[in-house]
Symmetry: C2
Subunit: 116 residues, 2 copies
DNA sequence: GTAGTTGGTATACTCTGTGATACTGATTAC
DNA sequence: GTAATCAGTATCACAGAGTATACCAACTAC
């Protein structure tokens, strides 16, 4: 075959793409990462910043993301108990993806509005 | 409130992000777009280029994407019938997102391998 | 004649991501 | 005394995304 190298690169790239989709797939992970990276720290604060999310989904996703070292959860056991979520450096590696997606969403909205 | 503007921008951005997730959500849309943008045109060709996909899912997604003007489907009715899929300019607006995700996937793989 | 390719469709099934609702115990505010 | 906030947990239920497998008709290759 003439271009084995090209073919192999494509294969690698699909797999990289699929890995990424596996990690950040679903409706909520990216919005949550985005919210925390924007400085939201408290549970209800994050919840309010993401339209449509329920406490249940937020709770589940936060747990999973804490396990995967995407975020840090700190409890300040004074009374009343205070819980804070923070992004980790690892979490910030999604910035490019999130920015590209926000950009696309904005352009898409323009496009739709012009059509109508 | 001191920073109404900041808050409003954040709200806009979450929504843009959520819109984008809505459009390209799921396991297969981005890999398919990627494959077609890479020059794969024939059904079986696209199928083979995406590990794990089934004919059924590919068929469904292609139909949906054709309806949404993301791709163009052309039938050449010579015998044997030939079908070709092509990307549209609109489809190419996802390039940045896909590139960012491929990049992340590659970095992630390195990261995992270094840890092990 | 047999196997393989192409571009799919049909059927049946699983499963899990997501949603809706209610609730807790501690604290603060009116 | 009542309501609200905080950080969640507990149940129940469901649609639809995704999987598995078989099959079709037309054609080519050996």
């Amino acid at each position: 075959m003439a271009n084995t190298a090209l073919v192999r690169n494509q294969t690698e790239e699909v797999k990289a793409l699929q890995d990424t989709i596996y990690v950040i797939g679903g409706k909520w992970k990216l919005p949550i990462i985005n919210s925390i990276c924007n400085g939201n720290k408290r549970f209800r604060e994050i919840e309010r910043s993401i339209p449509g999310i329920t406490t249940r989904m937020l709770s589940r996703e936060l747990k999973e993301m804490e396990m995967n070292k995407l975020i840090k959860r700190t409890v300040y056991p004074d009374s009343p108990v205070l819980v804070e979520y923070e992004s980790t450096p690892y979490c910030k590696t999604f910035a490019n993806i999130i920015l590209a997606m926000i950009e696309w969403g904005k352009e898409h909205k323009k496009y739709i509005q012009e059509e109508a």
